[in-house]
């Protein structure tokens, strides 16, 4: 979309930029002032001068990038910088994730980062914010993506775990170590058996617990007895699949938790026994519902299935366009290859 002179946010080679406030949002190259929507690697990068993030995300951000010049802003509170009023509002994506609302000269823009509209016990739910321009993701922005109720997925996971435990087999769920892993943990029924967390997951769990999120107790693989290893549920990052680390569980069943598991091809490529369709991104109805709730006449799409969403919105009479960004791009590849944080940074 061609930029207009009064635009509050524009796409620059180094990242999204607010000219009026002279700061960036989730930039991919080092800048002086960076506003961060959430702590996933494609949105939170090293090397910026100052970081501004939602206060709720302080622990996870620090866990990811270490000690940086970081200011936390509680959800809903306003801070004015160069005349631009900034506030953070829950995006429901992961702990500390925020939509960033900018107000200047009578205009309101909201940059949503990544978000989902469904429930998640590990973070505050998505909060619709009225605005003039809404900047949205479109990771699953096609009508084939439609999530089942979260509880159905948790029920499936628990039933699968129960069957495996009865057969004397461990159950390994591969889940991205920040966000998805904790969401999976929050849905487990600890009455079924012991829960083991991989080091990379446990490190993030610590940040969650420090932030006041209740998660069921977990053990490290070294703390679990041989008997427990045969009936436990294990949460591990995707990179653990096929590694020597999984060998200690002997005959186990494995599963992958991701929105991509909706696709048969992705499921089969992943080569696990089960695919649990659990995503931290909005599905197609979720994206449309979120956009409608903002009341914004103008929508800009950043990543995922960008072109279809832009065209669909245009056909619905909205002014729609795209920003070229380095977010997400291919989550399937990302889930496989993105480096997992070390157990102790």
């Amino acid at each position: 979309m061609d930029p207009q002179p009064r635009d509050l946010v524009v796409a620059r080679p180094e990242g999204l930029y607010c000219p009026a406030g002279d700061f960036h949002i989730d930039p991919w190259q080092p800048v002086a002032h960076a506003l961060i929507t959430h702590a996933h690697g494609d949105h939170l990068r090293l090397g910026h001068g100052r970081y501004l993030t939602a206060e709720a995300g302080r622990h996870v951000v620090t866990r990811r990038v270490g000690e940086v010049d970081l200011q936390g802003l509680p959800y809903g509170e306003r801070l004015t910088h160069n005349g631009v009023a900034i506030s953070f509002h829950p995006a429901g994506h992961v702990l500390g994730s925020a939509q960033i609302r900018l107000e200047h000269d009578g205009q309101v823009w909201v940059v949503s980062g990544d978000y989902k509209t469904g429930p998640d016990a590990t973070c505050l739910p998505f909060e619709p914010v009225r605005c003039d321009v809404f900047i949205t993701e479109s990771t699953f922005g096609l009508p084939v993506f439609r999530w089942a109720p979260q509880q159905d997925v948790f029920d499936d996971i628990n039933a699968w775990w129960q069957r495996n435990a009865e057969a004397g087999r461990a159950s390994i769920v591969y889940a991205y170590s920040f966000g998805k892993a904790q969401r999976v943990l929050s849905g487990l029924d600890p009455a079924i058996g012991p829960i083991v967390a991989h080091g990379a997951v446990a490190a993030m769990d610590e940040a969650y617990r420090a932030s006041g999120v209740a998660l069921p107790p977990t053990k490290s693989v070294l703390e679990a007895s041989a008997e427990e290893l045969r009936r436990c549920l294990v949460v591990a990052p995707p990179s653990a699949q096929g590694s020597a680390w999984t060998k200690r569980f002997g005959d186990y069943s494995d599963a992958f938790a991701s929105g991509w598991m909706l696709l048969r091809g992705a499921r089969r490529r992943r080569n696990v026994d089960r695919g649990f369709i659990l995503s931290d991104h909005a599905d197609w109805p979720g994206v449309l519902e979120a956009i409608a709730a903002t009341g914004a006449p103008r929508v800009i799409v950043t990543h995922g299935y960008v072109e279809p969403l832009v065209r669909w919105l245009a056909e619905q009479g909205l002014q729609s366009g795209a920003f070229k960004t380095e977010y997400g791009d291919d989550e399937d590849v990302k889930a496989t290859e993105e480096a997992v944080p070390e157990a102790s940074p």
Binding site: R146, L263, R268, R311
Partner: protein
């Protein structure tokens, strides 16, 4: 139908043989014969003809989902499978119902055939609205005639044998021809198939035997031991078939278990050339001027519904017999290969065209055979078949009672440039895995890349992912599901045959192209030329 949809999902989502067998066993233990009859039919590779044209199915799905055509197509490109796209794009069903598989097939699916497009559309939407996602996926696959399930027949047989207590080999035999299009499965056929008291393998009189399949020879040929222990024949490039003459009838079955009667009228004459109760295994080829003709010629015959006199004169076929399975009503598969061959020679001796014997290759030792094998291309064959002289005739890809090896010639290979890519289907959906390759044509400055082959097999999952990334990085244009890329990647392609083809822009067509190696190291400028390909064709 829920159970069969669940079975399909279970088979589809695991690569473990044990889990597949367990799922099959659990299904057959519970299923009613009328449902099991259809389940077995599908699992054994049976396919009812497509009952609804794809376009009509897509239109109905779009209407029910309330989305425009372009958005449906975008979704299809990402999902990579039409039935799966439809299953996910429709709004969730208000209430689902459960009907037995055979009712779905016989009373609903097959009943769609021949109805008006409007009626079909209404019926389809109604059906989809009664099913959950797995059910919709299965039904749409069945309606679209694209149902395929990743399970080996031997596995299905093993599970069925365990469920019914009948020997798997006997079941294999009874199952031959079960998926033939002309006979719909039903409870009676299934019950007969699994009847423990029915000891005769030959249900219908035209029942074929399971084909014995060869394994590719990868070890050095010397590892097979003495040359004298092996019967050597040319490996024909035709249609593997069984000719059955019993009583007044004759039957011609393909390896895919299609009844070919009537497709090759010249082979009807074989009935009179053979003694009663004879079953031959052999190859159908186009035979002219005393030699086998390229497979492309046979393809021209396969494609035709009616066989004209002109075609019969231009492209006559022959049956090259190479094994004897039944003689005088006796099942002789347990005889050693050499004895079956001896008797086969007696039976076929002196028979006239179209029946011929596949001759033995006489060469004293392995080195001599290796030299002779180099002539394969000029003789129009694919190499050698090596058959254990003391071996029996097995069933399928077995090695326990005797072994057949195919010792094929090395493929042609050429370095080509990737120019277009399209996303794959099934497990390759959402990845660019189907590629078009080009070679250079013309001189120096005016050189350009001419597409000549498509290939999608030969890469590992990891390599596919790497190529997929390269494609995304180098895309210049998208038209529908196809991406055009800046030429940057050279791939070594292997193929079996090469033919002049006026239909192709490059003027040539290659057979069975596949990727042998990614040449990340090789600059595009150094890829092969059209001239190299033409030279290969003339040499072959």
């Amino acid at each position: 139908m829920k159970e069969f949809a669940a079975l399909f999902l279970a088979l589809d989502s695991t690569t473990s043989t044990k889990k597949k067998t367990d799922a099959l066993l659990a299904y057959f233990q519970r299923a009613q014969p009328a449902d099991a009859a259809w389940a077995l039919y599908f699992l054994a590779g049976g396919k009812p003809r497509q009952t609804v044209p794809t376009g009509l199915m897509r239109a109905a799905a779009r209407e029910l989902a309330g989305i425009p055509e372009w958005l449906f197509d975008e979704s299809y490109d990402v999902v990579g499978d039409l039935a799966e796209t439809i299953a996910h794009v429709l709004p969730p069903a208000a209430a689902t119902i459960e009907l037995p598989l055979h009712v779905w097939i016989e009373e609903r699916l097959l009943a769609l055939r021949g109805q008006s497009p409007e009626a079909v559309s209404v019926a389809l939407k109604g059906y989809w609205n009664e099913l959950d996602t797995p059910g919709r996926f299965l039904l749409t696959k069945l309606i679209g005639g694209s149902f395929r399930v990743g399970v080996a027949r031997s596995l299905v047989l093993r599970a069925l044998a365990e469920a019914t207590g009948i020997d798997a080999k006997l079941l294999a035999q009874r199952l031959m021809g079960y998926t033939d299009k002309h006979h719909a499965p039903d409870a009676a056929r299934y019950t007969l198939l699994v009847d423990p008291s029915e000891q005769s393998a030959q249900g219908a009189s035209g029942q074929p035997y399971p084909f014995f399949l060869a394994h590719p020879l990868q070890a050095p040929v010397e590892s097979l031991g003495e040359r004298a222990d092996w019967q050597v024949e040319w490996k024909w490039d035709g249609i593997r078939a069984q000719f059955i003459r019993r009583g007044t009838g004759s039957w011609l079955w393909s390896r895919g278990e299609d009844l070919l009667n009537g497709r090759f009228p010249e082979l009807d004459a074989m009935h009179a050339l053979l003694p009663d109760h004879t079953v031959l295994d052999g190859e159908i080829v186009v035979w002219r001027e005393g030699r086998v003709q390229p497979f492309a010629d046979l393809q021209k015959r396969i494609g035709r519904k009616t066989v004209t006199k002109k075609i019969l004169a231009e492209l006559p076929v022959a049956f090259l017999a190479y094994d004897l399975l039944e003689a005088g009503g006796e099942d002789v598969r347990a005889w050693p290969q050499r004895r079956r061959r001896e008797r086969l020679e007696q039976i076929v001796a002196g028979a006239a065209s179209p029946l011929q014997i596949s001759p033995l290759v006489e060469a004293p030792d392995w080195p001599a055979l290796a030299v002779l094998r180099e002539e394969s291309r000029s003789r129009g064959v694919e190499g050698f078949m090596l058959k254990q002289r003391e071996g029996r005739y097995g069933a399928g890809r077995t090695k326990d009672v005797g072994t057949w090896w195919k010792w094929k010639i090395d493929p042609y290979s050429i370095d080509a440039v990737l120019v277009y890519a399209q996303s794959g289907h099934g497990r390759r959906a959402n990845l660019y895995t189907d590629y078009t390759f080009a070679v250079w044509d013309g001189e120096a400055d005016s050189r350009r890349l001419v597409p000549f082959a498509k290939a999608y097999s030969g890469l590992t999952d990891e390599e596919m992912r790497q190529v997929d990334q390269r494609i995304r990085q180098t895309t210049t244009e998208k038209f529908g599901p196809v991406r055009s890329v800046t030429p940057t990647l050279v791939v070594e392609l292997g193929f079996e045959g090469i033919q002049a083809s006026p239909r192709h822009k490059s003027g040539i067509a290659v057979r069975f192209p596949r990727m042998l190696r990614l040449r990340w190291d090789k600059p595009v400028e150094e890829a092969d030329t059209l001239r190299t390909l033409q030279a290969l064709r003339q040499a072959g």
